[in-house]
Point group: C2
Chain length 112, copies 2
């Protein structure tokens, strides 16, 4: 049961995990997906908070898209915030690199 005090489903879904608290296994599972690496590469080449979830060109359904963003958030790879109807994103590059040195360089800074 969810009490009214816990807010809307949309708001509740924006829990974040700090990269320092993410197990390596979780980080690797998050990176071991081509759609998620596409999202991360896209974020890596754009300014923080400049990309809304709906603007990514992904060959998946809306539900699958939401799942991918949730996995990336839970792995400490992205931060999200809602701005009106848009959900904006940033790659947590500095803090993820501090927790997993070299991992993003070895995975998203290269062609698949």
């Amino acid at each position: 049961m969810v009490s009214a005090g816990e807010g809307s489903a949309r708001a509740r879904s924006l829990s974040h995990v700090a990269p320092a608290d993410v197990p390596l296994q979780t980080a690797l599972e998050a990176l071991a997906d081509p759609v998620r690496r596409t999202i991360l590469r896209d974020l890596a080449t754009h300014d923080d908070w400049s990309r809304a979830c709906g603007t990514f060109d992904l060959p998946v359904t809306k539900a699958t898209r939401s799942h991918h963003f949730a996995v990336l958030r839970a792995a400490g790879l992205i931060e999200q915030r809602d701005e009106g109807a848009r959900r904006l994103n940033r790659l947590r590059r500095p803090e993820f690199d501090a927790a997993f040195p070299g991992l993003l360089a070895a995975t998203i800074d290269r062609a698949d």
Copy 2:
């Protein structure tokens, strides 16, 4: 159907894939398993060809163990050869590092 000319199941299972021919997705899936990282870390800290498959201390059945070694071989991470009843292993570090710079350093050269 398998003809006699293709040799025994044991011999046939020793096909290898060069790291340069391995997709990043395959490499990441191979690394995204704690048992497989245990095997790789173990190999990284021992001389090439000094460890037989049976000597690894792994919390899995013999069939699962064989599966893990097959996944590592298919991802270009290990090389195997049979010596009598023993199947010996080496980590393909130089050639894997050349194909995926920094990926082993970011995954097996750290605690889980």
